[in-house]
């Protein structure tokens, strides 16, 4: 499989999208910054034929498109021009050579007899008015089909902000509400016969947000755009899904993280009994997410696992936890180990014998997501919200698995892929880890343990199981006494990166054995910052202090526990030498002054 080079511009897209909040101003700013980066995504030109000021939606559509892998350029024809644009070969529509044309025509704008004039229509005239509007819209799509290869998206008609007959509407022989439903049915039926044409369900979007939020009188009159900001955003999101469906094939496999994704908490730290998964909050949230995942599997999406965990712990959890909705054999592939996730995703694609661009990746950890999207830009990385209550929505709205139409093939069951795995030999390719780590802009602060940091250090000593070489637990009193000893060194480490402050996440304790020997009593890091080589910085900091006290050797000891397998390579990786006749003991030569990796900005706090 070809190696993928890191694409700095692609990471720029990711950083811009990370700044977008629900506020309109953040969309406006992001859309501007995304414009020159279109070619980093799947570029596409969209032309809108609308009966209102469609331009106002542009920034929102550009941003929501980028979130779904699309570099959109939008052109709105002058509003109200429908037939002119389609029929005139020199029109802006044809000059633009659109990939997709969106036809957004409201009956409020072009069929007044069906809106304010509705009560004046005799029942027999209603169906004529409907037919005439439907013929106009379907006729537009058909005329466009004959003149352009573009995909066509036709809006249907949402409920009206105002019904002409008021309270009497539902009692009419043909109510206005039902007339609109019939109109939508006929538009859909007509468009089914126009190849490459699909319906944008504006009626559904308006119902989701409510008719009151959909229509905005102020914008209708000031800007000839009847959609309020809530509606503009909702339309942008749904339309971006449609555009993705028109421009990119749906993903085939959903690769899931485990900790804080399929359940709350960290299995390696909290244990089977300690994770959140059950019928009460917050475990119920994860259970509901698992049910939604099962529905994805039912419609033919392959599920897979990419997790940094001990595989035997995970297998035990799946077999023992009664609230797991998904079974382990429902996952078509799994990569559960401590190497990097980009490699895991490549292995999963190879196992399943599908293209890497057919994978979607769902992980609660923004650092893992950034790593994967930079290493393997072809993968659809779901923008997972911090709040697990919104996981299902994020997955649905990503559009990663949307089909514009359902075929029998789409319903194909997932099981058939499983056998493939057994035959495949896993190949792991290593990407440009260093470039990624540099882009993380990590700042590592290291300082002496003092009264202020003692409680957090004791807490970390007490609960860190995985990257912990000795798993020694101390009380505050015990640790304070130990650090008061002659030559003892106790350091904490705090890591900040571009995604925020990870807090105090590392502890190293060393004691003096004799005049030239210090011994590492404890060394641990929180598992969420593993894989960044920050442990080098902490080790070298404690080594330097030992050297200043006259030591020439730093001894290290590994005490195996049920859970600290991730720490076993620490000594080898950082330059210790195994002591031949003492298993699980290492020695570190303090004469050289090794430098921590260049991507770490080290700040030593409170020099002694």
């Amino acid at each position: 499989m070809p190696m993928t080079q890191m694409e700095p511009h692609r990471s720029e897209v990711v950083s811009i999208l990370a700044t977008v909040t629900e506020k309109p101003a953040s969309y406006l700013a992001a859309a501007r910054k995304l414009a020159p980066l279109r070619s980093e995504l799947t570029p596409a030109k969209i032309v809108a034929l609308a009966t209102f000021t469609f331009d106002l939606l542009h920034p929102y559509i550009v941003v929501e498109g980028a979130r779904r892998g699309l570099g959109l350029e939008l052109v709105a024809a002058p509003f109200g021009q429908l037939e002119q644009q389609v029929l005139d070969p020199t029109s802006m529509l044809h000059a633009a050579k659109a990939d997709v044309v969106v036809i957004a025509a409201r009956i409020e704008d072009i069929a007044p007899e069906l809106t304010d004039g509705f009560v004046a229509l005799a029942p027999a005239e209603i169906s004529g008015a409907i037919t005439s509007h439907v013929e106009r819209i379907v006729g537009l799509a058909r005329a466009l089909r004959e003149r352009s290869g573009a995909r066509i998206i036709v809006w249907n008609q949402p409920a009206l902000a105002r019904v002409a007959a008021g309270l009497a509407d539902p009692s009419l022989e043909t109510s206005q509400q039902l007339a609109i439903a019939e109109l939508n049915r006929q538009i859909a039926a007509g468009c089914r016969d126009v190849p490459g044409t699909t319906i944008f369900d504006a009626a559904r979007v308006a119902a989701e947000i409510g008719t009151g939020q959909w229509f905005d009188a102020k914008l209708a009159h000031l800007a000839r755009c009847p959609l309020g900001i809530t509606a503009q955003l909702a339309v942008a999101r749904r339309l971006a899904r449609h555009l993705r469906g028109n421009l990119l094939p749906p993903c085939k496999a959903l690769v899931l993280d485990l900790d804080n994704t399929l359940w709350g908490g960290v299995l390696g730290e909290d244990g089977i009994g300690g994770i959140a998964l059950g019928d009460g909050y917050p475990g119920s949230v994860f259970k509901a997410f698992q049910r939604a995942l099962r529905s994805y599997r039912d419609r033919g999406v392959l599920l897979a696992i990419a997790s940094k965990n001990n595989e035997e712990d995970v297998i035990e959890l799946f077999s023992q936890h009664s609230d797991m909705v998904l079974r382990l054999d429902e996952f078509a592939a799994r990569q559960i180990h401590w190497t990097d996730k980009a490699a895991s995703l490549r292995a999963i694609a190879a196992d399943l014998n599908i293209g890497i661009d057919s994978l979607a990746f769902f992980d609660d950890n923004p650092v893992e997501r950034a790593w994967v999207s930079e290493q393997v830009p072809e993968i659809t990385v779901i923008d997972v919200p911090a709040d697990p209550l919104r996981y299902i929505e994020a997955l649905d709205e990503s559009g990663a698995f949307d089909h514009l139409a359902i075929t029998a093939e789409d319903r194909m069951r997932a099981d058939q892929y499983r056998a493939e795995i057994e035959r495949k030999h896993l190949e792991r390719s290593v990407g440009s880890v260093e470039q990624f780590l540099e882009a993380l802009q990590m700042k590592v602060e290291i300082g002496r343990i003092d009264a202020a940091t003692l409680p957090r250090v004791v807490q970390l000593l007490g609960k860190t199981n995985q990257f912990n070489v000795t798993t020694r637990r101390y009380s505050e009193g015990e640790l304070a006494a130990m650090l008061a000893g002659d030559g003892a060194i106790g350091l904490w480490m705090r890591i900040t990166d571009r995604y925020g402050d990870n807090g105090l996440v590392g502890v190293a304790l060393a004691v003096r054995d004799d005049a030239t020997t210090h011994r590492l009593d404890s060394f641990l890091m929180s598992c969420r910052v593993l894989g960044r080589q920050a442990e080098h910085a902490l080790l070298f900091a404690i080594a330097k202090r030992a050297r200043l006290q006259g030591a020439t050797t730093l001894l290290g000891e590994f005490i195996p526990s049920k859970k600290n397998a991730p720490a076993v390579r620490f000594f080898d990786d950082t330059g210790f030498t195994a002591i031949g006749d003492r298993p699980n003991w290492w020695s570190f030569d303090l004469a050289p002054d090794p430098q921590p990796p260049r991507w770490l900005q080290i700040v030593e706090v409170g020099h002694e």
């Binding site: 506020k23 309109p24 101003a25 406006l28 700013a29 000021t53 009159h221 000031l222 900001i229």
Partner: protein, 79 residues
Amino acid sequence: MSDEISRRVREVVAATFGVPVESLTADSGDQTIEAWDSLNQIHLIVALEGEFGISLEPEDAIALTTVAAIEHAIRDLKA
């Protein structure tokens, strides 16, 4: 408090028209910023309403054509 409003107003203006926030003064407006056209005026209104959780009257909204006028209007509404 007013400095806070001024800062947020200028951030919204900068985002809306694609100009550096440092370049803005109280006098910046439709006469000094090229991108300040009628379409972006609407974007500005929507962005200000979203930023401050307010609803501007149409007459007031279309009169907001300088940074100073916006700051004044927001202070009145927030007072």
